[in-house]
Amino acid sequence: MSALVATPVLVPLATVALTALAAGRPRLQQVLSGLGSLALLLCALLLLGQVEGGEGARLAFGNWPAPFGIEFHVDRLSAALVLVTALMGSASLLFLASDADPGRRHPLLLPLLHGLLVGVGGAFVTADLFNLYVWFEVMLICALGLLALGARPDQLDGAFKYMVLNLLGTLLLLISVGAVYAATGHLNFTALSQAAPSLPPALAAVLLTALLLSLLLKSGAFPLYAWLPASYHTLPGPVLALCAGLLTKVGVYAVLRLTGDVFAPVPALLPEALGWIACATMLFGVLGAAYHWDMRRILAFHIVSQIGYILLAIALDSAAGNRAALFYTVHHIVVKATLFLLAAMIWRYTGSYDLRRIGGLFRARPRLALLFMVPALSLVGIPPLSGFWAKLVVLQEALARGHYAWTAVALLVSVLTLYSMMKIWMEAFWKDHPQKGWSLPRNTRLAPAWCATLSLAAVTLWISFAPQALLAYAEAAALSLGGGR
């Protein structure tokens, strides 16, 4: 049933409409939002089941045939990312029911969150370059709305920086899409991949550079990531987890889709340059994390550094590299969202995100410490957690292709990631709370938060101990891309 292909957009879009209409009735709104996210999860699972076997599912809107109308195409790569999106949406919405840093309860919060899912879902399933741009715009406007929702001065400042820099990226994306159309006469991915070989290599390089630069800005790559650390830390915890998990990954996905599938094989200059950009992204990101004491800022900079790893995998420009990129992306979305959610719980227990002002959690909440270790060690890449497999496949392929310098940077960044995670562990958990006579707050409502983080940690552990399933899936996905053929 091909209508399923449109559900990643239609289901959250319907939820946006319903929750916006129910803005005056908070309980009804919450029920609708919950139902919407569950429906999305269900559709994503069905979609995954549908593409597991073969070529993937296509849907041409208005029945206008492929190169002329707009087409959605869900292959393994898209299906996996849609599923993770749905999962993250459900987990964040569940977490919102707790009192761990929920932010301001604004009636428009839920519509905007689902609006974000519309954009993310659309970007993952579309097979049309201009349509991709449209979904980026949807994401941009929703993220802006969420940033401005709290209306604190720092949030408005962050939102403004976010808007200016992202508009720049959007503008360049639009110009590049226009340029691609001007050069080829096509926007449909399949048509573009057929037209690509007839493009002169130099022209292809220019067009792809323009496209990739705008997408790299959206992904948060060096030196275009300034908007991310400038704004993310002002978001309330659960919203931050969703944005952090998904937004930059859409940019990375688009990079992978364009270089590894639509325009594959790309001129050799691009992967080489991308690799060095990836290294700088990893390094500057992790150094930013080492510099900060606010957990949200630390974790926000780690997004940048991890984006570097995924870009490195893409830069390896091979089926194995693409496999690594997909595996890494899935692992990273789950782990990073878990970390942000846990940070929000730490905030609820200790009263601050600032590591200098908190502590004593190991004694007070040993189970939280245990739970924190799962995503933290996974992010570092300690075996056998999911991050280890992710880094292993990247490093293996980087070494096999003889990229020793990139490998060295990746390893160095891992050490610094370890340093940074240890910092959180030692300050928030091991150290005594700096306030004398501090005790846990009473009357916390954290059951939904525990539920959400435990489920995400369970997903991480599943990937960790049975990586074969995801690895085999990612391999099949990579092989069905243009670069794998």
Partner: protein, 761 residues
């Protein structure tokens, strides 16, 4: 409640259950050894996509390690029951120790490099948690951090080395690797693999220049120090080197680095031991030195050296663990481990004194102890293999100071009274604190008298490095002769060092203090402090907090990279010849656009700004009109008109209510102008270059052909918007609606602010 989980330790039954873990492992190992069922292999498919099987192989070397892990483990678990009695974290300690034991067992039995690495990293993480056991002390936290940073960094080097080795050999199975590698060419990749693996092994086994973390790890409780940082975990580096010795043993580089680093560590560790006053740290440095000797022995060729490795591994576990327990008992009984404050403890702690004597005898290599046999074997190995002079000197220092350290631990604090014994109420601990060390120390002596018990075990272990012929085996026998004579020298120097310990301590402390800031520990501290500093510098550079700086960086990067790529391919673009001067209509349209854009730069009035921007839109419309796209032009005019009218009416309403401020005076910023001009030029060139592509008119032809007959619309642009690409329009409508939603809270905020102001007035 914060104190919810800080109860009164754990019960006897639970303690016994925990202790049953290493004990059953010990029984299993002994049973397998007794029935000569080695080697054992098992394999389980795990991640076929990466070719990773849970492959295990237990040969003689693994069995020796397993025996140490389970035997010392049993002693440590028993001991911890007494040492930590009533401690609130006792259960945590047992859980962590049990996990650690499992990780150790995994490491020494794994037959797959990556599986080995998995367990190896687990021991590092567990060591972090155990060193930081007293996490409320900042010293413990720092030591834990240091230990994990160094072993963790080493672990990553090891991973890279393993990957290179596995790729070069075409397999990750260790048994296959040691067969394949000697036949491979000694190229750059393999050399890199070798160096990286050495970094991993040296960090784990505290070899120079990564030696300094081990004594700091003594912040851990004594059972942990005895188990992790003396008997088992720190030997993993040696184990790995021994395991890979058949692969790299013939490489001169391997021999040179192992002997070099090992000898330096052996000598330097012992000298640093002389600096310490804390009994546990003295023992820790002597452990470092022993590890150095082991590494030297692995690096040496010949069967004798392999036998020496096996026997020193075993002997060290049997004497050093009891000595750590002795230090723990003294700490437990007197509250201090500083040797100046201790003396004559034999009266109050007779059993501990006995253990110390037995273990000390073995450490000093006294005849009738297993330590003597080991020294004998080492001497024979060194006389057999060619050893460079430095290694010989290092070994002499090692042997001599070992005698002295044994003297300090076994004789000085129990039998002499050089310092004031501050604590008069020293008392012996419970039975569980005496029996385990006594059992270990006694087995050390037993093996010294009846060495043939250990013969099969050590031969098996040595066999993993080289095939051991029979005559060497016979070497492990009790014999007095030329060996004793050569050992006498080391006894004599050791005695001298022991007697002048305090004098030497002062000299060495003063001397070494002077070069402390050049030492590796100081370098590490500097590096650690450098991380936040480098982080601050780089972050302030990229993330300055100023939006104009961000925008300048972003636009600058985009322009530069785009310009670079275009410049690289410039010569190959099929630049179309300009078709003469365009008609006056096109020129007029361009003039209109340029005028609008330039005018908008200098407007302070918002309404005028809107109108100048509108000129750009109309100019574009005119351009479309005369470039053969009247439908696009029509749409452009409509959109532009509607936009200007709507926006202007809003502005007029605002002006009438007096809430329309004019824009601030534009400042003259030449750098910004240059950047903007560059970006504009790059974008213009980009579009120009794009127009040189092989444009496929299929889409536009299709749209104009099917617009009327199939979509029933005469205006192609409209049909594209509402039919062909209706989904884009839906998305854009969504954007508009969502931006309305997003703006609502801000508008509400302004209104609330105004109302507050009105109320205040």
């Amino acid at each position: 409640m914060a104190q919810a989980n800080t109860g009164q330790g754990i019960g006897r039954v639970e303690r016994l259950l925990f202790t049953a873990l290493p004990l059953s492992a010990l029984c299993l190992v002994l049973w397998k050894l007794a029935r000569l069922e080695l080697p054992l292999s098992a394999s389980l498919s795990w991640v076929p996509a990466l070719g990773i099987d849970l492959a295990f192989h237990i040969d003689g070397l693994s069995a020796l390690m397993l025996l140490m892990i389970s035997a010392v483990g049993t002693a440590v678990f028993l001991y911890a029951g007494g040492y930590m009695a009533g401690h609130s974290g006792q259960r945590r300690l047992f859980v962590l120790l049990s996990l650690f034991m499992l990780a150790m067992i995994g490491t020494v039995t794994a037959d797959h490099l990556l599986v080995l690495f998995l367990f190896w990293e687990a021991t590092s993480v567990l060591s972090f948690l155990l060193v930081g056991f007293d996490y409320h002390k900042s010293g413990s936290r720092r030591s834990a951090q240091q230990a994990l940073l160094i072993t963790g960094a080493g672990g990553l080097a090891l991973l890279a080395g393993f990957l290179l080795l596995g790729q070069a050999a075409g397999t990750y199975r260790i048994r296959e690797i040691i067969e394949v590698v000697p036949q491979l060419e000694q190229g750059g990749r393999l050399t890199a693999a070798l160096l990286l693996i050495l970094v991993g092994a040296f960090t784990k086994s505290a070899q120079f220049p990564f030696h300094f973390w081990l004594p700091n790890a003594m912040a851990a409780p004594t059972p942990v120090s005895a188990y992790l940082h003396s008997a088992t975990m720190v030997k993993l580096g040696v184990y790995l080197l021994a395991r890979l010795d058949p692969a790299f043993g013939e490489w001169p580089l391997w021999e040179l680095l192992l002997k070099g680093a090992g000898s330096i560590t052996a000598a330097w560790g012992m000298i640093l031991a002389l600096r310490e006053r804390d009994l546990k740290r003295i023992l820790a440095w002597s452990t470092v030195a022993t590890l150095g000797t082991l590494v030297t022995l692995v690096g040496m060729r010949g069967e004798g050296a392999s036998v020496a490795v096996g026997s020193l591994l075993l002997a060290h576990a049997l004497y050093k663990a009891p000595l750590f327990f002795v230090a723990g008992n003294i700490d437990h009984g007197t509250g201090t481990r500083v040797i100046d404050r201790l003396g004559n403890l034999r009266h109050s702690m007779p059993w501990t004194a006995a253990v110390a004597l037995l273990a000390g005898a073995s450490m000093a290599g006294m005849p009738l102890s297993f330590g003597y046999i080991v020294k004998d074997v080492i001497v024979e190995a060194k006389s057999a293999g060619e050893v460079f002079a430095f290694a010989k000197a290092a070994n002499t220092i090692f042997g001599a100071v070992a005698v002295a350290v044994a003297g300090v631990a076994a004789v000085r604090v129990f039998w002499r009274h050089p310092g004031v014994n501050e604590s008069c109420e020293a008392r012996e601990g419970s039975l569980s604190m005496i029996l385990p060390p006594l059992a270990l120390a006694l087995s050390g002596i037993t093996l010294g008298v009846f060495p043939f018990f250990a013969q099969g075990l050590i031969a098996g272990a040595a066999g993993a490095m080289v095939p051991v012929p029979r005559e060497i085996l016979l070497g492990i026998t009790l014999e007095f002769g030329p060996t004793l004579a050569s050992l006498a020298l080391s006894y004599a120097i050791g005695l001298g060092v022991y007697i002048s310990w305090d004098w030497l301590h002062e000299r060495f402390d003063a001397a070494v203090q002077r070069i402390d800031r050049l030492g590796m520990a100081a370098h590490f501290e500097r590096l650690l402090r450098g991380i936040p500093r480098a982080a601050a510098a780089s972050t302030r550079f990229v993330q300055s907090g100023s939006l104009p700086a961000y925008v300048a960086l972003a636009i600058g990067t985009l322009s530069l990279l785009l310009a670079l790529v275009m410049a690289l391919g410039w010569s190959s673009f099929a630049v179309p010849a300009l078709g003469g001067i365009p008609g006056p209509a096109v020129l007029g349209a361009c003039a209109l656009i340029a005028a609008g854009a330039l005018a908008s730069l200098f407007q302070k009035d918002r309404l005028a700004l809107l109108l100048s921007a509108g000129l750009v839109g109309y100019g574009s419309g005119v351009l479309f009109l005369f470039s053969g796209a009247p439908d696009v032009a029509y749409t452009q005019f409509t959109v532009e008109t509607v936009f200007v009218i709507v926006a202007a009416s809003i502005l007029l309403v605002l002006r009438r209510s007096g809430r329309l401020s004019s824009l601030p005076e534009a400042r003259w910023r030449p750098a910004a102008l240059a950047l903007a001009a560059a970006f504009g030029a790059v974008i213009m060139l980009l579009l120009f270059v794009a127009s040189t592509g092989p444009f496929d008119p299929a889409l536009s032809d299709y749209f104009s052909e099917t617009s009327l007959p199939q979509a029933f619309g005469r205006n192609v642009v409209n049909v594209i918007l509402v039919d062909f690409r209706a989904l884009d329009t839906l998305g854009e409508i969504t954007v508009v609606l969502l931006s309305f939603l997003a703006a609502l809270p801000l508008l509400a905020l302004r209104r609330a602010g105004r109302e507050r102001k009105a109320e205040a007035e």
